[in-house]
């Protein structure tokens, strides 16, 4: 089954075409990661899929055109985790996670016991039970990341969009955050589309990699197919070496070019 289907999707911001004729299919249950240099259009593409930006061409979720879906219908199909979410400092973790239930609650309604149970499940899966009554401002960076994921999970949408989920985390926390997403996927039929900067980590966790450059999809496929020295060097304008240990680990490392003299 197809979770996301883009055909010639175009997005313009301030008169500049930021995403140019992107065509891509994400199957249900897949984890696809968008990579590409700064300004390549990764976040913009995610936001268009989430229905936050006007676009040309076609974007479909589960076969339904995003343009014709109501906001609430989009929200029941996908949960979006922005790069730097706004966390109201005095809200408790539980109150925050409960807000994830909004698409299932009438515009003017209140949470039911079912919503409370869904939030409790999300808190449990991210091991936040002990922190549930704490205000968000008292959490550490890693705990915040988990709270945001719990809020997205409480939404109970089959599709999760992650915009730079590892920004501002140290290498251990980056790994933990992605490991968490991998675990969540294992426990349910979650489809994940993420945008990432950290190439080596992106290659390890995604089923498929999509390389965006200047708004266009220039390569897509299995991690080892996309992570070639030629593709990365060309589109990132960087000198890199791609190292493989023969056991499936692929690392992209910047390599300073030897200077004469």
């Amino acid at each position: 089954m197809t979770a996301i289907s883009l055909r010639d999707a175009c997005v313009s911001l301030g008169g500049r075409r930021v995403v140019d004729r992107a065509t891509l299919v994400v199957e249900a249950g897949e984890w696809v990661t968008l990579i590409g240099p700064n300004g390549a259009g990764k976040s913009t593409l995610l936001r268009a899929i989430a229905g936050l930006l006007p676009f040309g061409g076609s974007i479909e979720l589960d076969g339904a055109p995003v343009r014709r879906l109501k906001r609430r219908e989009v929200a029941r199909r996908l949960a979006f985790v922005p790069q730097s979410p706004l966390l109201p400092p005095d809200l408790t973790v539980r109150e925050y996670v409960l807000l994830g239930r909004t698409p299932h609650i009438g515009q003017l309604g209140a949470e039911s016991a079912r919503d409370a149970a869904a939030a409790a499940r999300a808190l449990g899966r991210l091991e936040l039970d002990a922190l549930a009554a704490r205000p968000l401002r008292t959490l550490s960076g890693g705990e915040r990341q988990r709270a945001v994921l719990a809020r997205a999970l409480a939404q109970e949408a089959p599709l999760l969009l992650l915009d730079e989920p590892t920004t501002a985390l140290d290498v251990g926390r980056q790994q933990q955050a992605l490991e968490l997403v991998a675990e969540l996927r294992a426990g349910s039929a979650l489809t994940v589309l993420s945008a990432m900067h950290e190439l080596t980590l992106a290659l390890q966790y995604a089923d498929r990699i999509v390389l965006l450059s200047e708004g266009r999809i220039v390569a897509a496929g299995a991690p080892e197919e996309v992570a070639t020295e030629e593709l990365i060097s060309t589109h990132y304008r960087a000198d890199v070496r791609v190292l493989a240990d023969g056991e499936g680990l692929v690392a992209v490392v910047p390599a300073r070019r030897a200077r004469p003299g």
Partner: protein, 358 residues
């Protein structure tokens, strides 16, 4: 413990933890309002006494079979002078505090108050025009609330239109700046008109400072439908305001139509505020201090802040009115002076003793 029992316990815990279901603060706020209302009925130049007032109130309730001992004149003081004034104070105070809390939520700005978008300047101009042009003419008194209401609503519509064209509707800052612009412009006109007609300066000035002194049941009947409708709609939005605290974009990804929600909340807060302002002038400070005191005491959820602002604002203004008509008796202090003079130190204490301010 068995797994089933554990799950049941977790379910119960989750049920208890649903936000906005804390009866104690609401009960305390209602008790505060009841005490303020009682003070409003009891305090005045004529001492009616607690017992007779209580008996008279009871005699009007069905099935109690209590006889009132109040004389006809005393009963008229109680029911034609003090009671409508208490009710009007409660309606105006509750409305201003609720509208202030709603504005703060919808603009995510702690300094937002019901007068943010030009309503005060518009109402001030409307009232000034009615007072100066109709000076001494018959029927002017009835015209002032209408002119103030129309002016206030026109001010907000102008600010909203300007703020909307200035941005693509995504930024609340442009809307607030539009409010500042409209306020400055309308205040300039109002000051100009006022200076041209210095004979009515006193009247304009006392209107602007706010008052509940002309209250009769007629005024209550004028304001109540607007306040009622506005309060109902705003209270229904209390959860959506919590969602908006995550930012416009995240609220949108959670399925909220942000622009429409903002428009509906602003429209109903404005209509209620305009009705309150039309009758009682510009009573400042209530719309800021009451919601913030509640926020500092009980946290940031609008599910508590909105209903408690309505009840707490009502009690606060009724109490302020009692003070306004006693400290300089038989003269009355403008109620806006009281709300600021007693409200500011109270708020300073709340601010100092609270753990954080956001």
């Amino acid at each position: 413990m068995s797994a089933a029992a554990g799950a049941a316990a977790a379910g119960e815990g989750a049920g208890r933890a649903l936000p906005g279901r804390r009866p104690l603060p609401l009960a305390l706020a209602l008790a505060f309002l009841a005490c303020s209302a009682l003070a409003g009925l009891l305090v005045g130049p004529v001492d009616l006494g607690l017992g007779p007032v209580a008996r008279d109130v009871a005699s009007r309730l069905p099935f109690l079979g209590v006889d009132s001992h109040l004389s006809g004149a005393d009963s008229a003081i109680l029911w034609q002078l003090r009671a409508p004034r208490v009710v009007l104070g409660a309606l105006v105070g509750g409305m201003l505090a609720l509208a202030g809390a709603s504005y703060q939520g919808v603009f995510r700005n702690p300094l937002a108050d019901p007068y943010l978008l030009g309503i005060a300047a518009g109402a001030g101009l409307g009232a000034t025009l009615a007072i100066t042009w109709g000076h001494g003419a018959v029927g002017t008194y009835d015209l002032i609330p209408l002119a103030a209401f129309a002016g206030g609503a026109a001010g907000v519509v102008a600010a909203y239109a300007l703020g909307h064209t200035a941005s693509t509707g995504r930024s609340t800052a442009s809307l607030i700046l539009a409010g500042v612009t409209v306020t400055s412009f309308l205040t300039a006109i109002q000051t100009f008109v006022q200076q041209q007609h210095s004979d009515s300066l006193q009247e304009v000035y006392s209107w602007i400072l706010g008052h509940l002194d002309t209250a009769g049941w007629h005024d209550v009947a004028l304001v109540a439908p607007y306040v009622g409708a506005s309060a109902l709609v705003l209270l229904l939005h209390r959860r959506v305001l919590d969602v908006l605290s995550l930012g416009d974009e995240e609220a949108a990804t959670l399925g909220v139509n942000v622009a429409r929600t903002r428009l509906v909340v602003v429209a109903f807060a404005t209509v209620g505020t305009a009705a309150a302002v039309a009758i009682s002038g510009l009573i400042g400070f209530v719309g800021i201090i009451v919601p913030h005191a509640i926020r500092l005491a009980l946290g940031p959820s609008y599910r508590l802040i909105l209903p408690l602002s309505l009840v707490g604002g009502a009690g606060f203004l009724v109490l302020a009115d009692v003070i306004a008509r006693t400290v300089m008796a038989p003269a009355e202090l403008p109620i806006g002076v009281v709300t600021a003079f007693f409200g500011a130190p109270f708020f300073a204490i709340v601010l100092r003793t609270s753990r954080s301010f956001t």
